[in-house]
């Protein structure tokens, strides 16, 4: 695959190295001449000096035959424009934007960027998973309709303890897909099962229902 990486910062540089190792053809577009020189010395002549949001630079880079463009600069507005120009001017099949401000993730999606990666959100999620007191952890985000796979742990004070699953106010569009208990294999949650403290549920939930699910299994 021919992949163009815009921005030769930490992310762009490491990504380029990883992609080269996998045998892809990679080109970095970087604005800063000294950074460009440094990259070319480090990993061979892969860096083109220029502004990746500029049509002429992208044309020089052979963007029309690129399979993918990844925008990794530290300016969200630049990443947005790079992806839009690549997609609409050069018909690049897949564009990925690094999002520096996590708030921009939804905005970018609405503006037609195929895929966004928010480093801040990823780091936050990783840290949350490591915090033992955290009761609801996001495991996976799915593209459709804002669906998420989450893990919910039933804490000792939960109002759900001692109740059957069918008695709980689980939101209608939520699917409880697995129940994990200490020292046993995961089971399919059944309506008549009684909830214990320490139970872990894996659930598929639509974004706005998350709070209701949390309230049902964790309490206030």
């Amino acid at each position: 695959m021919y992949i163009i990486v815009v921005g030769g910062g930490k992310v762009g540089y490491s990504l380029c190295k990883a992609l080269l190792d996998e045998g892809h053809e990679v080109l970095i577009i970087e604005r800063d001449p000294s950074r460009c020189e440094q990259i070319n010395e480090d990993i061979g002549a892969v860096c083109l000096r220029g502004d990746g949001a500029e049509t002429s630079t992208l044309a020089d880079a052979g963007t029309a035959r690129a399979d993918m463009v990844v925008a990794t600069t530290n300016g969200d507005e630049d990443n947005l424009v790079v992806c839009q120009v690549a997609k609409h001017k050069f018909s690049v099949p897949r564009t990925i934007a690094l999002v520096n401000n996590p708030k921009n993730e939804t905005i970018f999606k609405k503006l037609g960027i195929d895929c966004t990666v928010s480093a801040t959100t990823l780091i936050l999620e990783h840290i949350q998973e490591e915090v033992p007191t955290h009761v609801l952890v996001h495991l996976l985000k799915m593209e459709q309709q804002g669906m998420q796979v989450v893990e919910v742990k039933v804490p000792p004070h939960s109002p759900a303890i001692g109740k059957r699953i069918e008695e709980l106010p689980i939101p209608a569009t939520t699917l409880l897909s697995a129940l994990i208990r200490k020292d046993t294999a995961p089971v399919l949650p059944k309506p008549n099962m009684v909830v214990n403290a320490g139970d872990k549920f894996i659930a598929v939930v639509i974004g706005e229902m998350e709070e209701q699910l949390r309230a049902a299994l964790v309490g206030a």
């Binding site: 500029e54 947005l80 424009v81 839009q84 120009v85 708030k103 905005i107 609405k110």
Partner: protein, 133 residues
């Protein structure tokens, strides 16, 4: 008309003053407070410090009630992002943005943004001046 101007440079400040003088309700947004020195002392609108590509700053500046947004910061990409947020997220009825780079302007024309390239406009103006003498 309720107008939100993003970027208080020379153009932004002058546009704000003109619209304000005609009795429109003007709000101007800039990331540095110092830029507001360009506004005339008679300016009766609102000047707010904030980032025009940030939806909460835009909300604070009253984008939900704006009839029009004009994006005239120094950065083409910032203007493009600001204008697209206004148009596609907040459904502002009239959105205009400045894009210096004529090629980039053409792309966003086809994507439905109302964009003006001062480069092209000014070059044409100079050409017609040359021809008229």
């Amino acid at each position: 008309m309720n107008v939100l101007i993003v970027g208080c440079g020379r153009v932004g400040a002058q546009l704000a003053a003109l619209m304000d003088a005609e009795g429109h309700k003007v709000t101007i947004l800039d990331i540095t407070a110092n830029s507001f020195r360009r506004l005339p002392s008679t300016f009766g609108g609102t000047a707010i410090v904030g980032d025009g590509t940030d939806d909460s700053s835009l909300r604070k500046a009253g984008i939900e009630r704006a009839d029009a947004l004009v994006a005239v910061t120094q950065g083409d990409n910032r203007n493009v992002m600001s204008a697209q947020i206004a148009k596609h997220i907040f459904n502002v009825p009239k959105v205009i943005c400045r894009i210096y780079d004529p090629l980039r302007k053409d792309i966003y024309d086809t994507l439905g943004l109302d964009a003006v390239s001062p480069t092209t406009v000014f070059a044409q103006l100079l050409k017609s001046r040359l021809e008229s003498t």
